[in-house]
């Protein structure tokens, strides 16, 4: 038992769709401020788990405790096309739309100059940054990320991953990142969970110093172990001697 307070506590969680069980009696704790990556094949239940934590799916069995202040960013940015970028950022916040607050959040993700444009004029990476700003402006204790880098090109992805790492260190919120990219999980997370058939099948604590080096031998070893758990057999190319 850890003496840290938990941000997320899940006990005996199960979820079925039309008699088809997707989550089996799942237990999970996420301490405050921890960055957890959730890996797994498509259909293993990782997105279902994230939707439940987001409060978007309430037909569940078991007990889930989450912070009231939580927000999310998804694979597609899901900005409202009829609201200017800055209005999207502060949408749903209590009180009047505060442009200054939006500008500050947009500045933090590096696109303060795009505050007054329509979302349609943004590139994929910019839109994803707005989506992150919208999530972070709510000062969440838990940030849920559902493959937020999945639709980005490789160069943009690297930059946005770096941004997420910085934002996490600055805000100190707990993050649950759903992904199927093993390297992304190892680059960002404190702990990597591998889900299989609705259960947490494996767990790995990543004790590597940040920023992490993709080519470090420890990194490569962890990657091999995760790939093995995921059932991907691959010989290690380019292992440093």
């Amino acid at each position: 038992m850890s003496f840290m307070t938990n941000s997320v506590e899940i006990r005996g969680l199960s979820r079925a769709f039309d008699g088809n069980t997707v989550l089996h009696d799942l237990d999970l704790d996420i301490p405050e401020g921890e960055f957890v990556a959730l890996l797994g094949h498509s259909g293993c239940g990782k997105s279902t788990l994230l939707r439940i934590l987001a409060g978007l799916d309430e037909e569940i069995g078991g007990e889930v405790t989450v912070p009231a202040r939580r927000s999310a960013a998804f694979q597609s940015p899901r900005l409202l096309p009829w609201l200017k970028v800055w209005r999207n950022v502060v949408l749903g916040l209590p009180g009047r739309s505060d442009r200054e607050l939006a500008a500050k959040a947009l500045d933090e993700v590096g696109i303060a100059d795009r505050a007054g444009v329509w979302p349609k004029t943004l590139s994929g990476g910019q839109a994803q940054r707005v989506s992150l700003a919208r999530a972070l402006v709510r000062e969440p204790e838990l940030l849920l990320l559902d493959e937020p880098f999945g639709a980005l090109d490789a160069l943009t992805r690297g930059r946005v991953q770096q941004l997420v790492a910085e934002l996490w260190q600055r805000h100190g919120c707990a993050i649950l990142l759903v992904t199927h990219d093993v390297e992304e999980a190892l680059l960002l997370a404190d702990r990597v969970l591998v889900m299989d058939e609705g259960r947490i099948a494996h767990e790995l604590t990543v004790d590597l110093p940040r920023p992490r080096d993709l080519t470090a031998p420890e990194f490569v070893t962890l990657r091999a172990r995760l790939l093995n758990w995921l059932g991907v057999t691959r010989t290690l190319e380019g292992t440093p001697s």
């Binding site: 987001a54 409060g55 978007l56 927000s71 999310a72 998804f74 597609s76 899901r78 409202l80 096309p81 009829w82 609201l83 949408l91 749903g92 916040l93 209590p94 329509w118 979302p119 349609k120 919208r134 709510r138």
Partner: protein
């Protein structure tokens, strides 16, 4: 390729590349950028060639007597009538009377359509009760209701306004309802995640996403309003464009009839233009195909 063809049935000329136009599996992409001094006619000119040509043809056949006045008055007479009736005040009065009917009928129909489509679009119960009934009523041709409306409302203004209202209701209802129901579930989810309540979802997500559909419905509704008015004003009108037209019919005045038809058309066009301008203003956020070539 330097290998010899394996199949002797392949004709020898296939091995050697033929002229580039005929090479199989290859296409030549020709750009559309024009160089040189090719004469280009502006699009607006090209578009007006057809209508202007037809009017010239009309003018010519009338002037030469090929098109007798009893069939169709010459455009010159139509214009002369327009000037005369405007000066006497008959035409402006008629337009005002017809416009009033169209406006009142439209306002009633639009309110009913808006109310019903919101109820049906936002609530499951509303959908079950309203949408099937609307589907049933739509199957009735609304022009066919004129006799019933005369029985119910008499022959004064009421049946005319009611007919316009009815004609307006359907296109608006179905387009707004469809627009509400085609709201992107992912956006609703994201907005809920950002803390929007039911009312916030309706104002910030559902209604804006129904707006493009509603504007298409508005265009249909306005053209239907004028159409309904043409039908409605055949009922014992004592004022309005329909009255002017049925009077003209009694005296075989094709020039006045044509004039009234032109006025109906112009009013319809003006409404359409207004909605298009409104759409452009309201939908600047859309990333749309603007039409190519």
């Amino acid at each position: 390729m330097t290998t010899k063809p394996l199949d002797p049935a392949v004709p020898p000329q296939q091995a050697a590349p033929p002229d580039d136009a005929e090479r199989p599996g290859r296409v030549t992409l020709r750009g559309t950028v024009r160089t040189g001094r090719r004469l280009t006619i502006p699009r607006s000119v090209r578009r007006s060639v057809g209508p202007v040509g037809l009017i010239l043809l009309w003018l010519l056949t009338s002037a030469t007597g090929v098109l007798p006045e009893t069939v169709l008055a010459s455009p010159v007479d139509v214009v002369r009538q327009a000037v005369e009736l405007t000066r006497s005040g008959e035409l402006p009065d008629a337009i005002a009377a017809s416009g009033r009917r169209a406006a009142i009928g439209f306002a009633i129909g639009a309110s009913v359509a808006l109310g019903l489509s919101l109820l049906a679009g936002l609530f499951r119960l509303g959908e079950d009760v309203i949408d099937s009934s609307m589907g049933m009523f739509r199957a009735i041709p609304w022009v066919g209701l004129i006799p019933l409306f005369i029985v119910w409302f008499g022959i004064e203004e009421t049946p005319k306004i009611a007919l316009v209202a009815l004609g307006v209701t359907y296109p608006l209802y179905f387009n707004i309802y469809g627009g509400i129901r085609s709201t992107d579930a992912q956006l609703v989810e994201a907005a809920r995640m950002m803390g929007l309540g039911k009312l916030g979802l309706i104002t910030y997500v559902i209604l804006p996403s129904a707006l493009p559909g509603a504007l298409v419905g508005l265009r249909y509704a306005l053209s239907t309003a004028w159409l309904a008015l043409v039908f409605a004003e055949q009922i014992n009108a004592d004022a309005g464009l329909g009255y002017l037209m049925s009077n003209a019919q009694q005296y075989f005045r094709t020039d006045v009839i044509v004039l009234c038809l032109v006025v109906y058309a112009l009013l319809g066009l003006a409404c359409d233009l207004a909605v298009r301008i409104l759409s452009r203003r309201l939908l600047t956020w859309r990333a749309n195909f603007e039409g190519g070539a």
